[in-house]
Symmetry: C2
Subunit: 325 residues, 2 copies
Amino acid sequence: MKKFSIGIDVGGTNTAIGVVDENGNVLTKGGIDTPSHGDIDRYIKDMAKAVRDMIKSVQLTNSEAEIIGVGIGAPNGNYYNGTIEYAPNLSFKGVVHLVDLLKKEFPEYKDIALTNDANAAAIGEKIYGGAQKMDNFVMFTLGTGVGSGIVVDGDLVYGNDGFAGECGHTTLIPGGRLCGCGAKGHLEAYTSAPGMKRTAFEIMARDNAVDSALADKSFTELTSKMIYDAAIQGDKVAVEVFEQTGKYLGQALADTVHHLAPEAIFLFGGPTAAGDLIFKPVKESMEEYLLPIFKNKIKILPSELSMGDAAIVGASALVWKEKEK
Amino acid sequence: MKKFSIGIDVGGTNTAIGVVDENGNVLTKGGIDTPSHGDIDRYIKDMAKAVRDMIKSVQLTNSEAEIIGVGIGAPNGNYYNGTIEYAPNLSFKGVVHLVDLLKKEFPEYKDIALTNDANAAAIGEKIYGGAQKMDNFVMFTLGTGVGSGIVVDGDLVYGNDGFAGECGHTTLIPGGRLCGCGAKGHLEAYTSAPGMKRTAFEIMARDNAVDSALADKSFTELTSKMIYDAAIQGDKVAVEVFEQTGKYLGQALADTVHHLAPEAIFLFGGPTAAGDLIFKPVKESMEEYLLPIFKNKIKILPSELSMGDAAIVGASALVWKEKEK
């Protein structure tokens, strides 16, 4: 009997679904639209059908395949309640009891669990990735937002209400940039993809950088991918964006270290592909803010989850984690 | 058989020792000098003698008394190793194996454990105080420094190396006030007793506050107690010090909430006696920085440990916590 789990990643426009083995290999994957209509029942039917088709296709090539459960990563996902709660980028209103609804579709699976995407990535790192031998580490995900997942003594920290690990909303600069959440100066406003864009425009404005490769893009047009490409080509503004982003992040990571004293902090997401361009300033800046007892002790590591499949793989890891309990 | 534990609090100049019952009542207490001579063996002999004398006196009045262990709170205390490591305010150099040394003196006690003072206070709150029914909370101690102890799922977070919970050294204002640890802008430089003094002098300088009750004190003379007394009398500068200290602390507490989503944050230490003068700005400021999902959810509570005995009581609680394992 070979065991597999289903990983589902609920995104703003697309819901990715995959069948994952115990080593984190994705056997097959696909997806459905995350609806804009807000009709949760129809969404669940679509999801259940896609999952069943996928299981069938796996069982065609592997008659021994046993599916042991379903793991879901979702924005504002609440592990304790199995709910998505007031997710600003989804069309569903209020609290969606996704796990209960899926359990009705799949009564045969005991383990159906849900958490937010960054928590899922942290569990993915623990089950399949670079944190397999670590009991205390933190995962930071850099993307449209900045997410985090905290592991203490081998288990994910969910906190009192299931929402722990929102380090993207710690304050980096009091009274600073407006954050998407409405507060000012949060980390996410500086080190997310839109945050990097804002930094690029600040630098161009400061230096009147008409020669930069980024100078002919409007505020709407400029993407973090363009900044990345320009940085790799040595564009001065783009390189400074990565350096400054690293400094910002390093300051925040020091705060996380002072809370949790982790063995390592993993970074996941597009900007990490820039390697030293981002990791070097992150490390230097973090060290600057650390207490002597923590200096030169905390590893900053790139996630070992493969970029394309990480969301599915992370979500599927939830199931193996449930099995441990 | 009535059970008691010994609580020892290692301070910069004095080491307090007490015998504590299962409800956190201190039966008897005393102390020895924390030596300035750096001779650890002599210190251990003094400590062991004081503990033995204390146990004898308890057993005189209570022949049924059974001592079940020794808990120690100490600066830079490392729970995993039972050590005090590079404590800047103690005369002992490097790493002191305090638990091992005490075990040689008291082979009859299985449970001898050590952690830092703020962690001990957090365990004290859990075992005897306001957190008895809470599994996720954080303790902040406001004194000469700013310490913290983090409880997740009922257990104290020690992190990878035993030093977790140093929230006093998270960055409040990047590039801000010089902290005792050498870094800039740490919380401790703003909300410790010396931090409050610095705030008082900033306000007096800004307002040319010659009429303030604090105006005739030198920088060396002014204490946080004087600021407290003046604030209670309605002195404008002193009241603003509390308000500003509350704002600073609230910002930092929001960061802690975004990490850990605790049920409550407990505040311990002198300034908490000012009640609303400090709690109100703390709450308002924290709420301002919080994500909507956390707003109006997190309790900010005064510690229920009695100020005078908290260090001993907290340390003694370590023993009952060990017994649970």
